[in-house]
Point group: C2
Chain length 442, copies 2
Amino acid sequence: MPKNFKTTPGSVTAPQGFLASGVFCDIKRLGTGKGSNKGRKRDLALIVSEVPATVAGMFTTNQVCAAPVKVCAERVKKGVAQAIVVNSGNANACTGEQGLRDARAMTALVAKQFSLREEHVLVGSTGRIGVAMPMLNVKAGILEASALLGHGPEHAAEAAEAIMTSDTRAKQIAVEIKLGGRTARVGGICKGAGMIQPGMSATGQRPPPLPLHATMLCFVTTDAAIKPAPLRTALQEATALSFNRITVDGDMSTNDTVLVLANGLAGNTPIASTSGRDFAALQEALNYVLLELAKMIVRDGEGVSRFVTVRVNGARSPQHADIAARAVANSALVKTSWCGGDPNWGRIIDALGYSAAEVVESKVDIAYSPPGSHKLLYSLKRGRPVSTSFAALCKIAALPEFDLHINLNLGKGSAVIYAADLTEDYVDFNKGDVNDPSSLGG
Amino acid sequence: MPKNFKTTPGSVTAPQGFLASGVFCDIKRLGTGKGSNKGRKRDLALIVSEVPATVAGMFTTNQVCAAPVKVCAERVKKGVAQAIVVNSGNANACTGEQGLRDARAMTALVAKQFSLREEHVLVGSTGRIGVAMPMLNVKAGILEASALLGHGPEHAAEAAEAIMTSDTRAKQIAVEIKLGGRTARVGGICKGAGMIQPGMSATGQRPPPLPLHATMLCFVTTDAAIKPAPLRTALQEATALSFNRITVDGDMSTNDTVLVLANGLAGNTPIASTSGRDFAALQEALNYVLLELAKMIVRDGEGVSRFVTVRVNGARSPQHADIAARAVANSALVKTSWCGGDPNWGRIIDALGYSAAEVVESKVDIAYSPPGSHKLLYSLKRGRPVSTSFAALCKIAALPEFDLHINLNLGKGSAVIYAADLTEDYVDFNKGDVNDPSSLGG
């Protein structure tokens, strides 16, 4: 936790001038009858700023991307937005022209409720792929969510619940910073669980070197005043260091989206460039908020029982480090060994060896430590097993969270990937129930 | 099954002049006492030709490769060999200089038993990574295996058993062909189970475009007479179409090896080039033998309950097709849906979309069929769900084996990958038992 700010209760309604709500409108069409509680989890969220806000977004680089992603990627280019409507239960992906019409209709209805410009309303979706949006339900939900908007933390919590799919808990955070003597806040909510290895860019265009592969959605609000260009830069950096560094199952979703709204109500002198103390302070806060939210996604990933931070150092280049870390973090054999609490190095060096990163067996160091600790316990040094007490290594690998340190000793490239184990629960959950197509992710 | 040859009983001893044996020498050092049957699976195999044979080999392209791979890759260059010694239970990988000395000592002992030149003896290992070979046990095993060599199919079966690790059954096949009026045979044994996505080359050097990632070992014998150069070409093609087209878990081992010995005792005019009818006949037989063995590995993969042939057509290039097929075949979400017998297309198009292959959502066709059938049942056509009976699709996806047909409709590139589902049993098996390090693969 950086020293320059403190966490504060609440999330997207912690900054001044933001309202939120979350309602149930039965997007999965479970047809829950009167008196039935089955599946009555909220499934539609609304976030609205009292005034137009500066906006920036990051989107999946999957070539097959959902209608709401297409609509948002286009609209955020203008740099201004005022509301976000989000549903769970249906991804509105692979839904063709009808999907685009439905996504736009959602934004149009929100715009109408609050007399906003339609292009100032953004939209996010997560859930089943390839099924038309149940627009009657969605519209009813938007009307109800509009009526129930509020400033309180309970309203933000309802929005956080409404965007969940297979998440077992809502994910929220907020921090407070000082910008030129003024108090500003940054708050966010997110969801994850499966299809988690985001590789997002600001345009949805894929950067050439990224080994790519969540539905993860994240919505951040701040009352800081900042121009679109520096906000875009800040979001890109914060995403590169957080959501683009996590993996649950190596699958990248069609719907990954991060949006940030900055409405300026904190009253600071607007941040106009990426230099200066205020930009640095906001960047630091944004980095912290996104990284904490990203880690919550990994910890609450489908079936996840163990959270492993894979730290690669000494690679020929940062790209080699990233490739090496992802090869380890996505290896089925490494992930199952984590499930078993096994301080394996054989499967790790095997994965390093088949990765596209340069690896020289006789130079590889592998060590374990408790989370964030600099006290490394080596299992492999320069390619040779260390006669460290196996019991001590097992103790670390049995922790619910630990750090895996890999040094390739070839150069100065380094990378961190936040990863999870692969469990029977993951398989059981995702093999799904053919008779319940609503179980199919997206 | 091609028409030009027939299968014949037995495997590596079916061709004339080959002897084999398989013994138990406790390489895992389970210390089974007298009267105990615990773990008494054979763990050392020997294959010997009565006369020097032409040899060719294909080896893992993992940058971290085992000592026996290093020894073999060097020796097969000369084109002549006469014996192969193979052990399971210890991979002799990440064992440094001692590992190389041990691998060579194994070949030296075999050479001594039969008065062969040491460099005419090859060696293969599979099992735990990073543990020194128990050479006393290994040497005792080699002496016993040498004494027990025999021509009968029961001897070949014992060798096939001895190379197994987590395999649940031995893998063997033999076929008979005609070469210029002479009868020749091609026989093979192999093992697989986990760490299965081979990407082998003749030199261990990685070809640039291959997306790489088994311990799989395969040993083939033939009494055909053929020169080293055409045998190398034939083995490369047969491997490219078989072992390099399978994946169980996407992990590529440090030990993958395919070796073929051709001792010429069939008496055909030696095949000296890749043109001519005899080369074509031998190539066809080798292709068949390796593909059947490769499919046995997938079907008997760790925890595998379903075998899926992923057929990609219409890709921009063969490489794009290969990348697309592997993205689908290695997606945790696709593989778990196969486990559930779920004819999903959402996860499939998601995996296609995040792959490095060019994909245009509105052009993608996805269909299912029973194995080898041309009667396709579409679930997606040109990016839109087909209103095919969901029940009929479920019926196909519930088969123990089915074909998944993907047409990207962008070009003429095509590729086939033989893949498997991801099950709770895979996770349970591989999370291992920390108290039993012998469970750790390699």
